[in-house]
């Protein structure tokens, strides 16, 4: 565990029966950091979260929080907050009582409780609704109550499991800003789970990309977006044209292909975003299979000897018809080298 680690997961392993959901997970998180777990469905994001919260007991490994080993500490003594995807509000209690729930268990004085609950409800903008029951609130409002309910406990770590997935697009952006504001104001260490790369890129200080219970890459949004470590991460952050490198050549369905420029020797693969593919010039040829208009850009799917290639150009440029033959190039300067393939 490094000096600066506030929450540290060492070799964390969890299995359900014979199947391993999280495999030797190692991660150090600094105090006040906002970390996103990003990965496809079933990769173990929720499982990891629930074990940090203490709702699941790890099969092996260690969890250290603020200098204390909490691997065997029961969930109600960890002071870890969790905002559930379903919000999990208490339907029989008002907004006020939901937020006060944890404080009442602490045997605090009524005046202290009232001060903290009132401030907590105010900070998520729900003062006018504090007498309502959860069923009388919209999804976004319920989400805010869940957030306030966890935050008034002043948790050491706040975990959020897909906090925005039940909200519509506009509310999602609004709640993103809200989460960021709460995090900046309180300085709470936050981990949130998402399978939306845009959400992870825009919110997180650091992103952990997960795949089948393993960490695929850890890095800042810029690192993940620009320098994906593996073909999996590349694919996940929008590099649609991914090739393995063998003997200094691209491995393609049509055989090994050499590029004009000399290839980096140490990379296991190369990946291009659709915007990195140069159209109408270059040594390769492809047939237009489909064209889609996405606003500023037009995306072409080409059938080529290198396999399917996705390219993107400004929508203002003249349109190529279906079936047209197009020249294209894969310029090395637009490629992201991959350390691992598959």
């Amino acid at each position: 565990m490094s000096d600066r680690a506030f929450l540290s997961l060492e070799n964390l392993t969890l299995s359900y029966g014979n199947s391993i959901a999280v495999d030797k997970f190692n991660l150090d998180i600094r105090k006040g950091e906002l970390v996103a777990f990003l990965g496809p469905s079933g990769c173990g994001k929720t499982t990891t979260m629930r074990s940090i919260a203490g709702l699941l007991t790890p099969t092996a490994g260690r969890i250290t929080l603020d200098g204390t080993d909490i691997t065997r500490v029961s969930a109600n003594k960890r002071n870890v907050g969790l905002v559930f995807q379903s919000y999990a509000l208490f339907p029989h209690l008002t907004v006020y009582e939901n937020v006060a729930f944890g404080l009442r268990l602490k045997r605090m004085s009524d005046a202290d409780i009232d001060a903290r609950v009132t401030a907590g409800i105010k900070s998520v903008g729900l003062s006018a609704l504090s007498g309502r029951k959860p069923t009388e609130l919209s999804g976004g409002q319920q989400q805010r109550v869940a957030l306030a309910r966890s935050m008034v406990m002043e948790p050491k770590v706040l975990l959020l499991d897909e906090p925005l997935s039940n909200l519509d697009a506009r509310l999602r952006v609004e709640m993103r800003a809200e989460l960021q504001r709460v995090q900046k104001e309180t300085g709470v260490t936050m981990i949130f789970v998402t399978h939306d790369q845009a959400e992870a890129l825009s919110l997180a200080d650091r992103i952990v990309v997960m795949r089948e219970g393993l960490i695929e890459q850890v890095g800042t949004p810029e690192e993940i977006y620009n320098n994906p470590a593996s073909s999996f991460v590349a694919d996940f952050v929008g590099f649609e044209n991914v090739f393995a490198l063998r003997g200094g050549k691209l491995a393609t369905p049509g055989g090994a292909v050499a590029l004009a420029e000399a290839l980096p020797g140490d990379a296991a693969g190369l990946a291009w975003r659709p915007s990195g593919v140069a159209l109408e010039t270059g040594p390769f040829k492809g047939t237009v299979k489909s064209v889609s208009f996405t606003g500023n850009l037009r995306e072409y799917l080409l059938e080529t000897p290198l396999g399917p290639i996705t390219a993107e150009v400004g929508a203002a440029l003249p349109v190529h018809a279906l079936g047209a033959e197009l020249a294209f190039d894969l310029p090395l300067k637009a490629a992201a080298p991959l350390q691992r393939f598959a």
Binding site: A53, R78, L82, S86, A88, L89, H92, G102, L105, M153
Partner: protein
């Protein structure tokens, strides 16, 4: 044509469901001395007589004790059982689930005979205790089933939220789970109460001097006396049931549970 048919079926259904009740009420208002429908003249004298028959009063109290007490004990056992069955993957959970529903299939007359033959006779259990045990056991499956459905409708993440806010598992159960299944428990109580109160076959075997439930008492009363007071008592009991179910539906939406 289709409409006429469905109206006809509905009418037939109502006649079969409500007809007996109307006949009982009619017979109980009779001024004559024998159980008869249509009534011979109108009077309230048989209804008044119900309250003067001492055995009716005693057996009514007995039935009430069994129905209220037995259902209460069944709930004490059934609520935790239902909770465990719905929340945990128990090693024999499926089997327990099946066993719990079995008595609903096994005829009560066999249950009664078995209890008499293997509990009361060999261990000289008092009939009262055996009767209480029998009613508790009979009602238990209903409470487990009705309360289970409440638990299954209640998401388990609510309890986890409570635990993460500092509650113990037990605390979470009392503070978060129980308040949200109150109406399910009340529904189970009413169903259990009615089941126990109307129970005949089991009680038939388990009755003795001074220990007799109301339905059994009514049967034996009718063997000796054929006056309309049994009809009057039945009408009063039916009214009581209707009242309970009406209140339950009004305040709980009882029909959701049964």
């Amino acid at each position: 044509m289709n409409r006429t048919l469905s109206t006809l079926i509905l009418a037939a259904l109502l006649v079969f469901l409500i007809g007996p009740f109307l006949i009982i009420v009619g017979a109980s208002l009779s001024a004559g001395d024998t159980l008869a429908f249509p009534p011979q003249g109108l009077s309230l004298k048989w209804i008044a007589k119900v309250f003067t028959v001492e055995s009716f009063r005693d057996s009514f109290i007995m039935s009430m004790i069994l129905a209220v007490g037995g259902t209460f004990v069944a709930l004490l056992l059934g609520v935790p059982a239902a909770y465990a069955l719905s929340r945990y993957k128990l090693p024999f959970g499926e089997i327990v689930n099946t066993i719990v529903t079995l008595p609903i299939i096994v005829p009560g007359i066999i249950v009664g005979l078995a209890l008499l033959r293997y509990l009361v006779v060999p261990f000289s259990f008092s009939i009262g205790v055996a009767l209480f045990l029998a009613h508790t056991a009979l009602v238990l499956p209903y409470t487990v089933r009705v309360v289970s459905s409440s638990f299954n409708n209640l998401r388990s993440d609510m309890e986890e939220a409570a635990v993460l806010l500092g509650a113990t598992r037990l605390g979470a159960f009392f503070k978060v789970v129980l308040p949200n299944i109150q109406s399910g428990i009340l529904a189970a109580f009413i169903l259990g109460f009615v089941t126990s109160f109307n129970q005949v076959p089991v009680s038939l075997f388990l009755s003795g001097p001074g220990v007799r439930t109301l339905p059994i008492d009514m049967l034996s009363y009718m063997e000796t006396t054929y006056d309309p007071s049994v009809a009057a008592l039945s009408a009063l009991l039916a009214l009581m049931s209707i009242g309970i179910v009406f209140l339950a539906e009004r305040f709980l939406g009882f029909s959701r549970y049964v």
